[in-house]
Symmetry: C2
Subunit: 189 residues, 2 copies
Amino acid sequence: MSENRSTILQISLELFARRGYEAVGIQEIVDSAGITKPTLYHYFGSKSGLLEILLKESFTPFLTRLADAARYSGDVTNTLQAVASYSLQFAGQNPSLFRFYLTTQVAPLDSEPYQAGKFIHLEQQRILQELFLKAAQDHGNMKGRHIAYAASFLGLVNTYALLAVNGEITSVDNLVNQVVHQFMHGIFS
Amino acid sequence: MSENRSTILQISLELFARRGYEAVGIQEIVDSAGITKPTLYHYFGSKSGLLEILLKESFTPFLTRLADAARYSGDVTNTLQAVASYSLQFAGQNPSLFRFYLTTQVAPLDSEPYQAGKFIHLEQQRILQELFLKAAQDHGNMKGRHIAYAASFLGLVNTYALLAVNGEITSVDNLVNQVVHQFMHGIFS
DNA sequence: AAGACAGTATACCGTTCGGTATACTTGGCT
DNA sequence: AGCCAAGTATACCGAACGGTATACTGTCTT
């Protein structure tokens, strides 16, 4: 049922990821999907509605599982490894989605992509800040830095994920360990 | 002489940074600048020409000085501090430019902003890879990782610079030390 | 059998897009 | 004075933009 709806979502994601949200027209989407405009407007109401639904449906399950992975177990390294592992795995399995998500995160604050993707990195930051806040109770030297830690850990994960997706890094097997280790102990050691 | 030219550059940067390259029309630029279309086309030839010249003129001096700061002196920490210091300083003094530069870096590969800004992060990566390559001669455990190191150091600097520009981080005084220390020794210690 | 409703297509709307042909003004040079 | 070239404005171009009014088709319910 409603095969056209999922076709539109899939095609538009591919186009948005490759050429950018603003550069892609409605006409181009419906042509690529083999349908017509009213069909798209029937399901999504507007171009920005399509964008919102696309991000919402793609990332709600991701965020739920990320919150599970980030539940602090008393071992910071283990928890961070779970977070990095799931994030990198998700990025590897959905390269177009991950690329597009990155563009929304850094897009201009007034742009539609940023506004539509805001909930994703707000929730990501909330999850990680909570993790580092709890961890700081066990590790005094981490106190008062949970915001910076959350941001820089996310930045590091995203950086390595982008390298992997771009094929600029070959061995992905121990990428998780590499990311977490670098975050915890730096490049020395 | 040619005050209009620099007005166009300044206004268009502000608009691109706030709303995104594709979302901003030529008409809007010339209206904001108080001039007309032919004037803009006289100086820049096209919208993409404006973008190219804008990035070229803004970042050529930045890259030159960055290369100076990144000259390896035998002390990795010192050199990285010089790089981070100059980068954060430049970002702080040109917040709009820095924001827009970040969007070009993560923009879709086929988009005009990415293509126009490609030379910047290619040169940044080249500079830092060279630095880490030379440093690896003194520090054996860094060998074979210069690509990942360059990427993740840049990612870390950009992450903190964005936090600072967004006002999510207050104390900027020891930000440089914080970035370099985290990169070298991790969050522990 | 009849109606309701979701889904889809044809054809069109006004607006804005990037870009330009043409002409006027201005300054400096000969 | 006469000319040239840079710089700027008026007015316009065809194409593409996001979006929609209307009508047709099927399927499912009653």
